[in-house]
Amino acid sequence: MSKSKQTAGYKGAYSSQKKKEGEGRSCIRYRCGLTNTIQDVLNQRPGWVEVKDDGDWDFNWCDVGWLRENFDHSYMEEHVRICHFRNHYELTRKNLMVKNLKRYRKTLEREAGRLEASKCDFFPCTFVLPSEYHIFVEEFKRSPGSTWIMKPVARSQGKGIFLFRKLKDIIDWRKDGSRSEEQKDEAQVESYVAQRYIENPYLIAGRKFDLRVYVLVTSYIPLKAWLYRDGFARFSNTRFSLSSIDDQYVHLTNVAVQKTAPDYDPEKGCKWLMQQLRQYLTAKHGFETVQTLFKEIDNIFIRSLLSVQKTIINDKHCFELYGYDILLDQDLKPWLIEVNASPSLTASSQEDYDLKYRLLEDTLHIVDMEGRLTGKEKRVGGFDLMWNDGPVYTDVGLETLGSSCLVANTHLGCVNDRQKQLQQLLKPFPGQKRT
């Protein structure tokens, strides 16, 4: 791409205009590297105009490849926004995330004690291979018969993942010609992680599922993170049993993998909306238990972000919408499986499309190119402010609670009446009448 000499985000006609408090732009030029739901959202946003190829842009929804090639060579004006942090992979690459979490946990233990550090025990025992191969083997031998999962560090959609129970299985794999070929291609030396497999996942009607949750980070220093109320549970198409490790379709719940399973029916949704799941769990386990569960899930987001807070290059131009994959076990303990910097925005059904559309629309509201927010909001559409350089609590009328207790401002799986909230919150777009 010949963008290296271009100054991206050059203001052009606006150069003489200073952005006053509350005064927004009337025309926002955007660049979009993806052809899915985000394309529609940007297209349909009033006052936003697409620029192609070498044109100057105010907003860029790019893929990570573009970012890698162009970010360092681009000059961005103050108002310009881009949808990734330069080194997001510290959080989203499995080996780096593990490294950062382990280091954070150690620091926490040193500074705040065991109890506080134990709040980081939400990721299964993981080792980076080949660098940690020997300590992995030690751990492996300590728990014979348990199942482990091998995941390539940088791939997505379930590719290259397999389960194993015997060291013999991976010794063969290491020797396997086809795999070493891939390893040679990898820029990273460490290309795999071995992780203890969660053998007792929470099942609904005999099926395994994982959760996809959306977290928007607009700044790392200070850390400002928003949690979206909608999300979904992705079901495996087949019934869970440990007896067939080779049947990866059972164990992997990514929609992408499910789509290739022989009995996949594209018309049949294999997802539940988060609200449905939350209600199901509440009906089964009671309100308090589920409240605790969701608090623990919040904890996962916050701690994982804090663990990379000092590593990620903070940049006021950057924001990032993460897709968190969470797995529940039979004791209703949530586990962090993975964080995605580019969660899939392709829709698998109309309902899915609507969810992603809302999500992206609200993301753009928060990025606020139009300058309509004050910056003091705790809620924008379906997003609730989860962390703002410290925990965020709801504004609760004290008379509804017996004792004064602070309640977290997160509502994952709760009602998302965003239309109403947005109407009250936002001024109309420039040039648009309030409906």
């Binding site: 009607a205 539940w272 449905q276 309640v407 509502h411």
Partner: protein
């Protein structure tokens, strides 16, 4: 006609209930408890009777007996003259009885001809290897993909609607003139259905001054306050284990976290596997295991109808698809449960009989087929699907479903004059619409879009599959709470009222369907409030709809 006086009626009922409870598991448990407590020091010979009574009360057994009696009251056959034949007591109107008999003949004929056409026996003993295979696959019958192409449902709701439309009281004068007093709808019979003022009396808890679960902006009671107090009361009701109190409580909605236990309490199915189910002679679990054994041993033709129905309806549903396996586990057992035949004591239908080869193969004898007397129709599995949200132990799920069926659902597909029967519900729906939205009704009629043709499928299924689960369960809370299906008819009318402006603009039945479908989606998209502190409200929910329409339209 000589009417029995109240006290005579009461003693008849008492005798009936005592008769039914004798020999049940509860009875033997009570006896056992009474015998065992004799060892206790507080039981004295001089005051034996009172002491034992006091003991039974303190240990919670009296409450269990109360619940059992309360349950029996729900399924008591209607009171009748001792010399009246039972059919007359169950259904006093002769033309209704006749219509039901004809309808039964039709479905049975359809079933039997399918059997002959396909050359498949109505029942067949499974060979041992097949039995083994089924036992292994019991928890994942959904993975099977049998060839069901040659099976068709015995009937669909729209076939049933045609029968209801054709119902006529031979005593009425047939007049073709459309007068102000005449009925514009499809139901041509005159039954005594409640109007709005009467319903206000019957359903005071749905009035605006009462708090409701599902949050309403317009109540006098702030939603958060109401909810926390309501949950508090709910926990107390549950710990008291009082059926009648639970039923009363359910009128204002059950909190999600308590609903499963409360429904179980209302229906008197056991909550705890340690306790015993007192509805039938055997425990919940062993009864279910027996039914499962019957499924393993014999294959029934209707099983295929069940498979097909589940595959076509529940499996295609965005939420219920997960529970496919449970649906088979419940419905296959349901077909073989002869205890369900008891509900024919008060159901005006009669169990269908078919000829099955006897064991020796030489004779044919008429037996009830399917064994539970209920021929499934297209959409039947949707009665079970929402319950999977609440119960995931098959035996528990089964007993709750069975009880719901024999109390309520059966009325939605048999022809009777009962106020909760399908005919009354349809009539009530049409009358509400005609009385309160005459312009809309007239318009729809003119464009050939009779409202009942749109609403019938919702009513027959008590809205299952047409509302999101959380909304549906709130609706079913009220069905249980008021022990009546009338609310289903009111909701159906409310849907039309809610979208009356859009409906006035449609020009065809198809577009009317679309508009009402969109309305249902609106109802379904509003989600539950699952945290006390979420300052969100659920603006459109069945009860709010009633309220809105109640006050603004009706």
């Amino acid at each position: 006609m000589i009417m029995m006086d109240e006290s005579a009626e009461l003693s008849v009922s008492i005798t009936q209930i005592v008769q039914r409870l004798k020999g049940t598991h509860l009875h033997s448990q009570l006896e056992k408890q009474a015998k065992e407590c004799l060892h206790k020091p507080e039981i004295k010979l001089e005051t034996l009777k009172d002491d034992v009574r006091r003991f039974l009360k303190a240990s919670g057994w009296e409450r269990k007996l109360q619940n059992a009696v309360y349950r029996e009251l729900h399924i008591l056959p209607p009171p009748g003259h001792p010399r009246a034949p039972p059919e007359h007591t169950k259904e006093p109107l002769a033309y209704m009885r006749k219509a039901q008999v004809n309808w039964e003949k039709r479905i049975l004929k359809s079933l039997n001809s399918m059997c002959t056409e396909l050359g498949i026996p109505l029942a067949r003993k499974r060979p041992v290897p097949e039995q083994k295979e089924l036992t292994n696959k019991w928890n994942e019958m959904g993975t099977d993909e049998p060839d069901l192409s040659k099976f068709r449902p015995v009937y669909a709701p729209k076939d049933f609607l045609e029968v209801l439309v054709g119902l006529k009281n031979p005593n009425n004068e047939r007049s073709e003139d459309l007068t102000v007093r005449s009925h514009w709808g499809l139901i041509q019979v005159s039954l005594n259905v409640r109007d709005i003022p009467q319903m206000r009396e019957m359903y005071p808890e749905l009035g605006i001054t009462y708090g409701q679960l599902g949050i309403d902006d317009h109540t006098h009671v702030p939603p958060d306050l109401f909810e926390s107090e309501h949950i508090h009361i709910g926990k107390k009701v549950e710990s008291e284990q009082d059926s009648a109190a639970a039923q009363q409580y359910s009128r204002q909605g059950c909190p999600t976290g308590l609903r499963a236990q409360l429904w179980s309490l209302i229906l008197n199915t056991s909550n705890d596997p340690e306790f015993f189910c007192f509805n039938f002679i055997k425990q919940d679990i062993t009864h279910y295991e027996q039914l499962k054994a019957r499924v393993i041993h014999h294959d029934l033709l209707v099983d295929n109808l069940i498979y097909k129905d589940v595959k076509l309806t529940a499996s295609n549903d965005d939420y219920y698809f997960v529970f496919e396996d449970y649906l088979y586990q419940v419905l296959l057992c349901f077909s073989r449960d002869t205890a369900v035949l008891e509900h024919f004591n008060y159901n005006c239908a009669t169990p269908p009989k078919s000829c099955i080869q006897s064991k020796s193969g030489s004779e044919q004898c008429a037996v009830v087929y399917p064994p539970n007397g209920v021929i499934p129709f297209h959409g039947f599995s949707m009665y079970v699907a929402p319950l999977c949200f609440l119960y995931n132990e098959p035996s528990k799920l089964y007993s709750v479903f069975r009880e719901m069926y024999i109390r309520y659902f059966f009325r939605l597909h048999s022809i009777s004059s009962h106020p909760s029967g399908i005919v009354s519900l349809c009539l009530q729906f049409e009358r509400l619409l005609q009385t309160h939205l005459p312009q809309l009704f007239y318009h729809l009629r003119e464009i050939g879009a009779q409202p009942l043709r749109i609403a019938f499928k919702w009513i027959v299924r008590a809205f299952s599959g047409y509302l999101s689960t959380d909304q549906l369960l709130l609706l079913w809370d009220r069905i249980l709470g008021y022990d009546s299906l009338e609310i289903v008819a009111v909701l159906a009318a409310a849907v039309f009222a809610f979208r009356s402006e859009n409906l006035m603009e449609v020009t065809s039945l198809a577009s009317a369907e679309v508009v009402t479908c969109v309305c249902m989606c609106v109802l379904s998209n509003t989600k539950i409030v699952s945290s006390l502190t979420a300052n969100t409200s659920n603006p459109v929910h069945p009860r709010h709809m009633f309220q809105n329409c109640w006050d603004n339209h009706f």
